[in-house]
């Protein structure tokens, strides 16, 4: 029996990298969005420019489940190289759409799925002369066919093509024609629509579809970043590029053409963080964007910035490690290397956005925190958040918001004779005052160094001042605890002994898993961490639950380690649930793991029923 489902299915496109499929697939996804139906698109791509297999997956979810689901109900198999596996991946009762210009022996197909063959290559060969056009329009032709098969409003797709090519009007007509070609052919060839359908809805609201790297970069623009130094590395490259693109649009003086920003593509990640440290020292808001290998290279500078107390922002778009690892796959495996970056006793502030909306918010907030705390702030994205498009709350900005530049002594402060000790804890919060070079002709100059010094920045190797300084830095870290974003609590419908702690891109899958489990009678309270160091409520949450699962996307349960180290929690209380194959974590996976491991608990798992 073919799957019947309206606004709830997963469609996967299997393409060849570099074949121009990406823009056609995005057109398909956005058409559904324009019909008011929530979608969660994801790219699964190789570390390659052209020729290797690449997949694009769109989860259509009228209920708004935006995490990866797992499995595929409909596969568009455009890559002969991966055909066999793509066919295998289809759920029983699912659908296969493929290019039937090439003969496929029936043995390679399945009899428990619906097979939809369309001679795409033949159609395009007949229609177009140019080889490049044949290839590119083949993608648009299948989008047209899918519109017919899935009951997507063709007028909506047509309007989107018009919007997409605004300013390049010459491209509109040929694209519309290719779309129609596929649409009409499918209508004749198949019985349209099939069991999977898209029905107009109003479940999208004012949400936007964007990727986390774009959002974080835009956050940096709004947060007042002026200096960006970076070295190209997947999956963070598009963050620096988005900063450049947004600055070119928003930060160039209309009359003079002068730029209110400076971007340096450095010779390596070490130089990139060096530029950021130099700019931060000199009073500009500066950042770098990188991934795990870059964090490894930056360790020494991060220790300097911690010890010399220099504001800096690092966007870490995490990928699969260790070493070169899986450059185009997602993981949350830099948590510990970022939290304790560098030799000696160091601790850093980390922010964990869940989606592009929060990537924008934290992208701007990180600069206030860096200035306020005079220390590096890490914004921990991952490939899934950074490079995939997510349906997200629209970006918001309050025009009355002022940048918090932290404790900076002005010319007037110095002139009035205020005591200036660079490492003097005046306010008891561990955060000292600083001066920006060039402020006052005779006062406020000091020497910044990575070596030990006293409260007035004078070099010393004496134990007393060293310990005093290190203790003040620890005090400052406790101040950070109070300033960083609070965790988000999602309480179960019923009181429960089971808690779950998660963070970052796990959020949508976790939310859906909690719903699935609740339907089965397993109720869980979920706490989404948004920053390190942890506030008091994290410890309280753990104490209030008998068993706490820590769900994360790495092998070694890094956040669990951090919780134990930072809060002194009994390790037996924290059960690790780990997903680390490089694909985004799914609701199905979390549901299964939690269901399996909570069997020891008598149902219904509530405190009241514990005997």
């Amino acid at each position: 029996m073919p799957i019947q489902s309206v606004n709830d299915f997963v469609i996967r496109f299997a393409n060849v990298n570099g074949s121009g499929s990406a823009s056609a697939n995005l057109l398909f996804a956005r058409s559904i969005l324009r019909m008011g139906v929530p979608i969660a698109p994801r790219n699964i791509f190789p570390s390659n420019i052209q020729g290797l297999p690449t997949w694009y997956e769109v989860r259509v979810s009228g209920d708004g489940h935006l995490g990866a689901r797992g499995g595929a109900d409909f596969v568009v198999a455009m890559n002969p190289q991966t055909f066999a596996n793509d066919v295998k991946a289809i759920e029983p009762g699912g659908y296969l759409f493929y290019d039937s210009s090439r003969y496929v022996p029936p043995a390679q197909l399945r009899d428990d799925i619906v097979v939809l063959g369309m001679p795409l290559t033949e159609i395009c060969t007949k229609e177009y002369r140019d080889a490049r056009q044949r290839q590119l329009f083949k993608n648009i032709v299948y989008v047209g066919a899918l519109a017919a098969l899935l009951d997507i409003e063709i007028a909506t797709v047509e309007k989107l093509i018009g919007d997409q090519f605004k300013g390049k009007e010459k491209l509109i007509q040929p694209n519309l024609r290719a779309l129609r070609l596929g649409y009409e052919d499918a209508k004749q060839r198949f019985s349209c629509p099939i069991g999977l359908r898209v029905k107009r809805s109003d479940a999208v609201g004012d949400r936007i579809l964007t990727d986390g790297n774009f959002a974080a970069a835009l956050g940096a623009v709004y947060g007042g970043a002026t200096v960006c130094a970076w070295y190209p590395i997947t999956p963070s490259t598009s963050l620096a590029e988005a900063f450049e693109k947004n600055c070119a649009r928003l930060r160039v003086d209309r009359e003079t053409g002068e730029k209110r920003y400076a971007i340096v593509q450095a010779e390596d990640e070490i130089a990139a963080i060096g530029v950021v440290v130099g700019a931060g020292w000199n009073g500009a808001r500066a950042f770098t964007a990188t991934s795990g290998p870059g964090i490894s290279l930056m360790q020494e500078f991060l220790g300097l910035a911690y010890f010399a107390e220099i504001p800096a922002v690092i966007f870490d778009v995490q990928r699969g490690g260790p070493s070169t690892g899986m450059p185009t796959r997602t993981q949350q495996s830099d948590v510990i290397s970022a939290a304790f970056a560098s030799h000696g006793d160091t601790k850093h502030v980390l922010l964990f956005p869940e989606d592009p909306g929060e990537a924008f918010e934290f992208g701007a907030l990180a600069f206030d925190l860096a200035d306020r705390l005079q220390t590096p702030i890490f914004v921990m994205l991952d490939l899934d958040i950074g490079m995939n498009s997510h349906l997200s709350a629209p970006f918001r900005w309050d025009d009355s918001r002022k940048y918090d530049r932290g404790k900076v002594m002005s010319f007037d402060d110095l002139e009035s004779g205020k005591d200036f000790g660079r490492y003097l804890d005046v306010d008891g919060d561990g955060v000292p005052y600083r001066t920006i070079p060039g402020t006052h002709p005779t006062r406020g100059a000091f020497f910044t160094r990575g070596t030990s010094r006293d409260r007035y920045a004078k070099y010393t190797e004496e134990g007393g001042p060293y310990v005093e300084n290190m203790d003040r830095l620890a005090r400052k870290f406790d101040t950070a605890r109070k300033l960083v974003p609070r965790p988000a609590l999602r309480k179960a419908a019923k009181p429960t002994r089971i808690g779950v702690i998660h963070y970052g891109s796990t959020a949508p899958a976790m939310e859906e898993a909690a719903e699935l489990l609740a339907a089965e009678g397993v109720h869980i309270d979920a706490l989404r961490l948004r920053a390190f160091p942890f506030g008091a409520e994290v410890g309280e949450f753990i104490a209030a639950h008998e068993q706490v699962f820590v769900v994360e996307q790495n092998r070694d349960a890094q956040m669990r380690t951090l919780l134990i180290a930072d809060l002194g929690v009994d390790p037996a209380q924290l059960v690790a649930i780990l997903h680390y194959d490089g694909t985004p974590i799914t609701a199905r996976f979390i549901r299964r793991e939690i269901a399996d491991r909570s069997r020891g608990f008598a149902a219904p798992l509530t405190k009241e029923t514990v005997s």
Binding site: K259, A272, N282, G438, F446, T448
Partner: protein
């Protein structure tokens, strides 16, 4: 090591410069380097150059890496902000500082280990980018702080204090700087104040990447007979290409060189440098000639000093990036934040 405060009082009749500062106002803490270290002479030359140029001390930012040479910013310009960063990475930190505020004067102090070994990459890219700075390498051909290992500028065949012979080719930092796009490249000797001070002054007035390699004998580890960077060796093998006199636009100094033997150069900012060529065949405007001169004298076992290459119309990093005239670190919300209205338009484009 202890911190030694220097008394602040001075003779009331001490001479002052155009800003009313005395020489003492440009000094720093008392040096803790070995007595007689060439680096202290270089610090003295820097102090003297800044005093004579009447540079406002608080508008100078002095940055360094790690090593004996990188300690010296503590011993000069006590009223300037300083930054002793990490080993070999001064150029990137200085580049960032420069991007944040284009109006300060940037002095980078480094050594041969800091620049030619661990920091060779950053040195190269700072030169390439044309960062507006004075980059001084205090070059003693040896690792001093770790007690006498060879550096990458040690000459092949030179011997360490322990008698070990260096078998690797040396790096000529001036030649590299010229190849990489430095618009001011010079070499001098720590003991030759008459040549060094004017070179530093000219470098400060240059609005691009100015590089000076200063041979600076290490009294502890590299001043013995086997070394090619000892006082005696350098004195015997020094070939000065030119002597340099320097005149600022603000306070012209009479030149006492005879006409014909001197060549005056108008600098971009209106100041003037005057060169007297000792080797009259050297044309410092010609990159190829600069490299050829370095190679020719190297082959003859001689050290070329003086201004070796100058392009007086440098296009510095800010000019290349077309950054605003107002320093980036002085900008606030009004200049930097595009506001809610622009954001609404961006949101609309993402639906």
């Amino acid at each position: 090591m202890s911190f030694l405060p220097k008394p602040k009082f001075h003779h009331p009749a001490l001479a002052v410069n155009a800003l009313g500062f005395t020489h003492r106002d440009y000094e720093g803490a008392i040096s803790t380097l070995c007595a007689g270290c060439g680096h202290d002479s270089i610090s003295a030359a820097i102090i003297h150059a800044c005093y004579e140029l009447s540079l406002p001390p608080h508008r100078i930012a002095k940055l360094s890496g790690i090593g004996c040479s990188s300690k010296t910013p503590t011993y000069m310009l006590g009223q300037s902000h300083g930054f002793n960063s990490v080993h070999g990475r001064m150029p990137s930190v200085l580049t960032g500082a420069n991007l944040a505020n284009r109006d300060l004067i940037y002095l980078g102090v480094s050594g041969d280990g800091d620049t030619a070994s661990i920091g060779l990459g950053q040195f190269a890219h700072a030169m390439r980018r044309g960062v507006n700075m004075v980059y001084i390498v205090e070059n003693n051909g040896v690792y001093g702080l770790t007690k006498g290992q060879f550096s990458a500028t040690s000459d092949r065949g030179s011997k360490s204090k322990k008698g070990v012979e260096n078998l690797d080719s040396p790096i000529d930092l001036v030649a590299l700087a010229v190849q990489l796009g430095a618009t001011f490249a010079a070499r001098s000797f720590s003991g030759d104040k008459a040549q060094l001070v004017p070179l530093i002054k000219a470098a400060f007035e240059h609005r691009g990447a100015a590089f000076i390699d200063v041979i600076s004998p290490c009294v502890a580890f590299n001043n013995h007979d086997g070394s090619t960077k000892s006082f005696d060796y350098v004195r015997e093998h020094n070939v000065a290409l030119n002597a340099l006199d320097f005149i600022t636009g603000r306070s012209p100094i009479e030149i006492d060189y005879p006409e014909g033997a001197a060549e005056r150069v108008a600098l971009h900012d209106g100041s003037t440098i005057t060169l007297r060529k000792l080797a009259d065949d050297h044309d410092w405007r010609d990159r190829a000639a600069a490299l050829a001169a370095l190679e020719k004298h190297r082959a003859e076992g001689e050290i070329v000093t003086g201004l070796i290459y100058l392009n007086d119309e440098p296009v510095d990093l800010h000019a290349r990036l077309n950054t605003a005239k107002k320093p980036l670190n002085e900008m606030g919300e009004a200049e930097l934040c595009p506001g809610a209205k622009a954001l609404a338009a961006i949101n609309a484009s993402l639906r």
